[in-house]
């Protein structure tokens, strides 16, 4: 049981490039979430999903897109990367209340 896995662990992008952060969970959770954490700050919700085919914006969705075609996978797409998107990104999943987090992806945009 791997829990929540994220790839890649680290990535450096140039301004204007795009990439997809992968997230997979094997706990059959309906709910999945993407957060970003900036230095000295808490986790800010980017997008979330309450089930396959259903996604919605969180607190900071601008510059990102998501899809949820299966229960297991919840990829986060960055289009036209900007330095403001330099952050650590965490994916999480939950059944009811407690969220389980992946190890994170550290992204730098130069």
């Amino acid at each position: 049981n791997a829990g929540v896995t994220q790839t890649p662990k680290f990535r450096i992008l140039k301004i204007g490039q795009s990439m997809t952060l992968q997230c997979t969970q094997d706990m059959n959770h309906n709910y999945m979430y993407w957060y970003r954490q900036d230095p000295g700050m808490g986790l800010k919700l980017i997008y979330y999903s309450v089930g396959a085919g259903i996604t919605d914006k969180g607190e900071v969705p601008n510059g990102y897109n998501v899809s949820r075609s299966t229960t297991e996978d919840f990829p986060l797409r960055l289009e036209l990367a900007a330095p403001s998107q330099t952050s650590v990104y965490f994916c999480a999943s939950s059944y009811i209340d407690e969220q389980f987090f992946g190890p994170g992806t550290r992204l730098t945009v130069l």
Partner: protein, 113 residues
């Protein structure tokens, strides 16, 4: 407007003593509260939670207290151990069915041997 606040960015305690981490919230619709612990280069891990219908929940060395009238919760760690050194996040869940959590900024706890 920050709905969940942890006003102490850091806390340092001696091994064996009590650590008290505090959290304040503004939204009375929050019905469930959680504490997460985070080590560097890892994702947050769930520590303990409390429902809004309770005022205390205990799990081993960890106890969470909820004061709804003050919109305040606290995490007590007794006795503190060096392995408890980490960033602690308070989180609140609203009463909707999205499961969304609102996180505080975190408190870095250092337990000195």
């Amino acid at each position: 407007d920050q709905q969940v606040k942890q006003n102490s960015p850091s806390l340092s305690v001696q091994e064996g003593r009590i650590s008290i981490l505090n959290c304040d919230y503004t939204n009375s619709m929050f019905d469930y509260f959680l504490w997460y612990k985070k080590y560097p280069a890892e994702g947050p891990t769930f520590l303990i939670s409390i429902s809004s219908i309770k005022d205390k929940n205990e799990d081993g060395r960890f106890t969470v207290f909820l004061n709804k009238s003050a919109k305040h919760l606290s995490l007590h760690i007794v006795p503190s151990q060096p392995g408890d050194s980490a960033v602690y996040f308070c989180a609140a869940k609203d009463s909707g069915n999205t499961g969304k959590l609102i996180f505080g900024q975190g408190t870095t706890l250092q337990v000195k041997p």
